[in-house]
Symmetry: C2
Subunit: 132 residues, 2 copies
Amino acid sequence: MNDFERRNLPLFPIGIVMELTELSARQIRYYEEQDLIHPARTKGRQRLFSFVDIDRLLEIKDLLDKKINIAGIKEIFLQRELEQKEKEIVLEKAKQRLSDKDLRKKVLREVTQQKPGQTHSLIQGDLSRFFH
Amino acid sequence: MNDFERRNLPLFPIGIVMELTELSARQIRYYEEQDLIHPARTKGRQRLFSFVDIDRLLEIKDLLDKKINIAGIKEIFLQRELEQKEKEIVLEKAKQRLSDKDLRKKVLREVTQQKPGQTHSLIQGDLSRFFH
DNA sequence: ATATGATGTTAATTTTTCTAACATCATATT
DNA sequence: AATATGATGTTAGAAAAATTAACATCATAT
């Protein structure tokens, strides 16, 4: 299990979260109702919060202290999410480029390599016009 | 809050601990009865487990799998505890020696230093017999 | 002055956990 | 082989914690 997964495990009942965040149950449930958090549930429908949920609650608290209202907080979180997706796409593409490069290298090696028993390099044969 | 404190926070209800450790409530409560763990309690006397408790439960599980009985496990934990105390004492003494050395250095500096306006070093006066 | 947003409070219900007692099952002892 | 012991399962009844829903309050914006 990696760090991401660990931080997203549903572990904490609302009572503990109340203590850790110094928020009331009413506040926590209201923020969920407003789609600011999405805690997991037990079979019996009791909320279970992750570290990520708790961090988010603490941030909500900070932003409310700064007189930002729930709509504002929702927008902030939304923008961050988009930003995050943007980054993931860039990363994804970079990764793809890397593995493409790798692949080209491999193919080139395959094709130019003088294997034992081969009388001449392929690059001097049929495929020579593809690699310069 | 440091790492030690964080790992000792009472956070998890027994249901979560059951999932994380794959132990039954009966087993967990029995190990407490046998003094292998000492989870905290809520006001209402419900158990709250820390990361340390969970690690310990996982170790108990391992040792039981190795056919070591509860008495054996208790002894292992006890010895580890003594070992730990031993180490703490050694560390404590080392620390003490260090600060003693510091103190002696300071006193020496104080006493041997020629302050502006002083006609002669103290070390040549009344205290000279203490520092060689 | 009124409407709205965020939170408090309460009641009834459901879920989770508690303790205590008795049951089971494997392993060690006689 | 019969019996004792240690670890765990199961059950029942009680207590604690969490849920939803409704109504109340209070500050702030219109």
